[in-house]
């Protein structure tokens, strides 16, 4: 039987040991009227059949020359990353509750925490949350726990990824926490420091700062951080971890640094996979340690003084603290952190910086090429990392459709015939040229 090792003799012997005569008898405690027939599902396939089906479905999917970003990014992933990550010992283990028989997973997480701390310049990190967006929601909840303020007003710039904002809303809305939008003009695309004063009166509990922001632009994180701290608000940095190869880490923003840093971990070796599984990374200042959501691994020793690792600070967690836990999270995204740890170890500080530079460089090249096409212009000014917005003089949806027809996913349509375009290190000059040629062709052919 599929995945069941029992022989007929086994079953007989086991039933006899139990003292019942048939499998049905094992379910005698289920009220008769609640018993059901096996569900009617699609017919069972053997492995050969499902392999062929999935190969066909996979062949149908993907395969485009893509310039999408907006929160998920196409990066080179060294083959070693997933060859090791999918080893059975990582893949099929549980949360490392029995530490002595789980040192592999535990040490990886300890190293992961160390690398995330290194990348963000924060003092502590946890073992991951579900994704960047839900992690940002946890950051908001944590800020509320950390703050001594009575209000629950969280300032969230309009330059944060709208998907992150929507997720935060879903997850915090149950608790009456108020989100205060820090507006920004479409033209500007970044928080204008000049406009901040108007929020001084709001008794903000925390300010979220995206870096780079949704439009790929770099925010003035130092000024924003210092402003928030001056208001007695906590600062939550929502950062792209790959960009931190070169960008100033949240721990060094302004004069005191951000209080919490979180973000989407996907750029660190996780495939795009239509959206998941990814992971949220999460780091903070040591003083907030006891308010961290999720699992944490700590180093300790055995009776002979041998170094070892364990889950620690568990008094924060649902399985101990129950209704008073810092979060309800239990299963997190463990295996993704194994992949990310291996990715970071292979790339190292210089490799990560090189990737970040190449992304930035490629996006500059493409922006230049695209804006050379009549009818295409950049929407914003200001520095950006590896995404930018261009405005077309015609229907952006139609243009994207035509690009798709030639195998190019040109970017993400935004309002007002704008589109958000991302370029990573995976694109060659030839790729950029194809994009330019295809777009130029479409712009030439179609009417504005």
């Amino acid at each position: 039987m599929p995945f069941i090792p029992h022989t007929t003799q086994d079953v007989e012997a086991m039933l006899a040991t139990i003292g019942v005569s048939a499998l049905d008898d094992l379910f005698c405690e289920i009220p008769a009227n609640l018993r059901c027939d096996p569900p009617k599902l699609l017919p069972a396939l053997n492995e050969m059949e499902i392999t062929r089906l999935m190969a066909q479905r996979s062949a149908q999917d993907g395969g485009m020359l893509g310039f999408l970003g907006a929160g998920a990014y196409d990066h080179h992933i060294p083959a070693a990353v997933w060859e090791i990550t999918t080893r059975g010992e990582y893949y099929s283990a549980y949360t490392p509750y029995q530490a002595e028989a789980s040192q592999g997973t535990l040490q990886v997480i300890y190293e992961f925490q160390s690398m995330i701390a290194g990348l963000t310049a924060m003092e502590v990190s946890n073992a991951s949350l579900y994704d960047g967006a839900s992690g940002a929601a946890e950051a908001v909840l944590m800020a509320v726990r950390c703050s001594r303020k009575k209000t629950a007003c969280i300032a969230i710039p309009a330059t944060v990824n709208p998907r992150t904002i929507a997720t935060i809303r879903t997850l915090i809305s149950q608790q009456g926490i108020e989100l205060l939008e820090i507006a920004c003009t479409a033209q500007n695309g970044r928080i204008d420091p000049a406009t901040l004063a108007q929020y001084n009166a709001k008794d903000i509990l925390a300010l979220l700062i995206p870096q780079p922001n949704y439009f790929g632009l770099l925010e003035d994180v130092d000024l924003l951080t210092d402003w928030a701290h001056a208001q007695g608000a906590l600062v939550v940095g929502i950062v792209n971890p790959l960009a931190l190869g070169i960008l100033k880490p949240p721990g060094e923003w302004g004069s005191q640094g951000a209080d919490i840093a979180c973000g989407e971990g996907q750029p660190l070796g996780i495939p795009l996979s239509s959206g998941g599984p990814y992971f949220g990374f999460f780091a903070c200042k040591k003083q907030w340690l006891r308010q961290l959501p999720g699992r944490i691994v700590g180093r300790t020793q055995d009776r002979e003084g041998k170094r070892g690792f364990v889950l620690t600070m568990q008094a924060r967690e649902q399985h101990i603290r129950r209704s008073k836990a810092t979060s309800n999270i239990c299963t997190n995204q463990g295996l993704m952190t194994v992949a990310a740890t291996i990715y970071m170890a292979i790339m190292g500080p210089t490799g990560l910086a090189n990737v970040a530079y190449a992304c930035h460089d490629n996006s500059r090249k493409l922006l230049e090429q695209l804006t050379a096409i009549p009818g295409v212009e950049r929407l914003h000014s200001g520095h950006y990392f590896h995404e930018f917005v261009v405005k077309l003089d015609r229907d952006v949806a139609k243009v994207l459709e035509e690009l798709l027809a030639v195998g190019i996913v040109g970017g993400l349509a935004l309002a007002d015939n704008c589109m958000l375009v991302c370029v990573t290190e995976t694109k060659t000059q030839a790729d950029l040229d194809s994009y330019k040629a295809a777009l130029a062709d479409i712009m030439l052919r179609s009417d504005s």
């Binding site: 039933l15 010992e89 040192q103 996979s273 959206g275 620690t312 990560l352």
Partner: protein, 494 residues
Amino acid sequence: MMVDRIIFEDSQSGRSNSHQWPKQKADCDLPPSFLRTTPPSLPEVSELEVVRHYTLLSQKNYSVDTQFYPLGSCTMKYNPRACNTLAMLPGFLSRHPLEPIETGQGVLASLYELQEMLAQVSGMAAVSLSPMAGAQGEFAGVAMIKAYHQHNGDVERVEMLVPDAAHGTNPATATLCGFRVREIDTDKNGDLDLASLKAAVGPQTAGLMLTNPSTLGVFERQIEKVVAIVHAAGGLLYYDGANLNAITGRTRPGDMGFDAIHINVHKTFATPHGGGGPGAGPVGVSERLKPFLPTPIVACDRSRQNKKYHWLYVNDCPKSIGQLSAFMGNIGVLLRAYVYLRMLGGPGMRRVADYATLNANYLLARLSAAGFSVAFPNRMASHEFILTLKPEADNYNVTALDFAKRLLDYGFYAPTIYFPMLVPECMLIEPTETESKGELDRFVDAMVAIRNEAIHNPRMVKDAPHNIPLAGVGVGRLDETQAARKPDLIWNKE
């Protein structure tokens, strides 16, 4: 003589895997104020050192692929390798979440069929796959219950009922959703105490969160009464689907009257636990909660010649509680569940419950015959059961923790211990259907052997583990107290 090193200890400045770096020498036009001044503290190690380090570390784990892993409540069954291979096909991995649906018909078809099949198995009217684990499924379910009451103007329902034996995520979720938690007692046979329930329900009751079979490893026999009591009080019923492995194809939460359910695909549907995740926690609902399901949801446009699959977003579902992640949850995990479910089909689903239950009851019978104390001796076990090692603790001063640690020496991962807390010195044992009788028999032998040690050589047990058969430098029992008292959470050059 040997040391297991931390990767940072192998780091040496200037080492590079330049074949992994982009070639371009990029000049950077960004002003220094945006840039970091010191490189991030990441190790500088060669690719071989990385491969060796993380391969060796993997060998320091017990896992289903290498050991019997009877961890109660966690359903550590075999994760078929085909699920991994097929979910990692290039077309699936390379697609960006925001690509148009035209480039994702393969993945969307699979997810759509998964939604339908999960609805069938659970007996619910509709399913959303978006929650990323059981706890997020719980959040979605409880948030839907809240939204439902609010939609009905029923705003005084501020209490969520949770049995005392419930998994910690249940009360934690209720709090996250802004509810007050009220605990319901369990009776001595492991059923919910109906008197306690009746005393608790009222106009303030938003609902009850229940798992059935419960975390005590027994089927809630009065489930119909429980449902009736809560529904009569105007509350809704939430089913924690972590224990679905006990009943697939035998009974359905939907038929019991539950309004919302989450399903841990990383339990019942054999997706891997990955040393802590990722899993996925699809939610299913009865008709009345359908409008509140979290988005996105996969829909199928049957009007055309060829089916065309597409997403429903919040705009399409105005009453939805909203989205739970930036994109669409743990799709790669869901694909694995889909492959598994396709390989089993309906009859296979029933076999899962049948053999999981057979294994649990067999192991229970053998351990009981060997003299171990069973928490609920008059009950049929579900897919798991509870021993209490209180007699051993009382007589030999050897605790459930000691037994657990010593089992590691014998090459078994330990069952869940001290949960549910209701039962003293408890061990919650879940063998799953994928283990053979031979393996169960060996586990019984080990338990008996350890008890003999407890009698004749208690130090052997109390000081365990001694020699876990894992690669590298083995560790003995680790000091968790010190870890929590003096947290050392990130590597610092010493």
